[in-house]
């Protein structure tokens, strides 16, 4: 993957988070502590600030660097969770990945995020977007960059009726029902930004 595409991906991911910071904050205020938008913005702006050196690295190392930056800068639970996701992808992906590589690497990264968050599917978390995304990737087929944004959008919306049992939202119990999970939303935003950039 050339440096220009890596830069575009970093810009697109950062742009998606920055332009939805208020929405992520509002979602998190409903069921968490309201810091998800600003935390993710801080993390990705730090990635963007380091975009030159990061994008000069081979893809696996670039992903590791993004993960480390998120761990160090985000400041909330989403830092280690997204950091783990990117670091695991970096560990699993070759420098020039195919769709098959992406599906396999994302499966491994999902396991790493599960371990980090001590959580599983159906618990109203980012995993509820990442898992359907992985299934669709593993299925493959044509027009993935067009279809995957729909998959993650639907998956994020499907977290609305779920009850949170992990994270701050779990304090709310039944009251967490009826709100979209902010981590699911941010995962969908990032996946969509990646698809739109690669498909452009």
């Amino acid at each position: 993957m050339d440096d220009a595409l890596k830069k575009k991906l970093i810009e697109a991911m950062t742009g998606a988070i920055v332009s939805h910071t208020d929405e992520l904050t509002a979602l998190d205020q409903a069921i968490g502590d309201g810091d998800h938008g600003l935390n993710m913005k801080r993390g990705f702006e730090a990635v963007l600030a380091d975009m030159g050196p990061i994008s000069a690295k081979p893809l696996p190392d670039a992903l590791q660097a993004i993960g480390t930056t998120l761990v160090m800068k985000v400041g909330g639970a989403s830092g280690p969770l997204y950091g783990t996701l990117f670091m695991a992808l970096g560990k699993e992906l070759p420098p020039e990945p195919t769709v098959t590589d992406l599906a396999r690497a994302l499966a491994a990264a999902i396991e790493a995020v599960k371990a980090r968050g001590k959580s599983d599917l159906g618990q109203k978390t980012m995993l509820d977007v990442l898992a359907p995304l992985q299934v669709a990737l593993a299925h493959g087929g044509t027009d993935l960059t067009k279809r995957l944004p729909e998959v993650v959008k639907d998956a994020a919306e499907a977290t609305v009726p779920l009850r949170a049992i992990r994270g701050r939202a779990s304090f709310l119990g039944e009251r967490s029902v009826g709100h979209m999970d902010p981590g699911a939303r941010s995962s969908a935003l990032l996946a969509t930004a990646i698809c739109n950039t690669i498909g452009a």
Binding site: D33, D35, N39, R42, V71, M72, K73, G75, G76, A77, S78, G79, P80, L81, G83, T84, R116, G117, G167, R168
Partner: protein, 132 residues
């Protein structure tokens, strides 16, 4: 007894004031008998937790007997786990995150540590609060 023989205590809160306040209470109980450090707030001084600050606190409170970490809410625990994993391998097995209320847990753990108890006992004493 030199402080470094006793288990160290690290307090990790989303709030710098909570972390420092809990550390003050611990110091009042045990003086300088226990290596102690607090990490509170995110890197910008707002509410949150900071992996780099947690790692620095573990270093500051490091003892050959190990370190017990007390945390407040979700992100403090996740970021503390991350910090532990980023420590040198030979130290990792001697760092525990206690499942205990942060203020009471820190005071109980430090009191136990000041008597020279090993890490597992310090952790158990703090965690007893959850079943009391």
């Amino acid at each position: 007894m030199p402080a470094s023989k006793n288990v160290g205590i690290v307090i990790v809160s989303h709030s710098a004031k909570v972390a420092e306040g809990a550390a003050d209470m611990v110091r009042q109980m045990v003086g300088d008998n226990v290596p102690l450090a607090a990490a509170g707030g995110n890197a910008e001084g707002g509410l949150g937790t900071d992996v780099a600050a947690i790692m620095a606190a573990i270093d500051k409170a490091w003892s050959e007997a190990g370190v017990a970490i007390l945390v407040d809410l979700g992100g403090a625990e996740t970021n503390s786990e991350m910090a532990v994993e980023m420590m040198p391998e030979e130290r990792r097995e001697r760092i525990v995150i206690c499942n205990a209320p942060i203020v009471e847990g820190a005071v109980m753990a430090a009191t136990e540590a000041s008597g020279g108890s090993p890490l597992a006992v310090v952790q158990a004493t703090a965690e007893e609060l959850m079943s009391a």
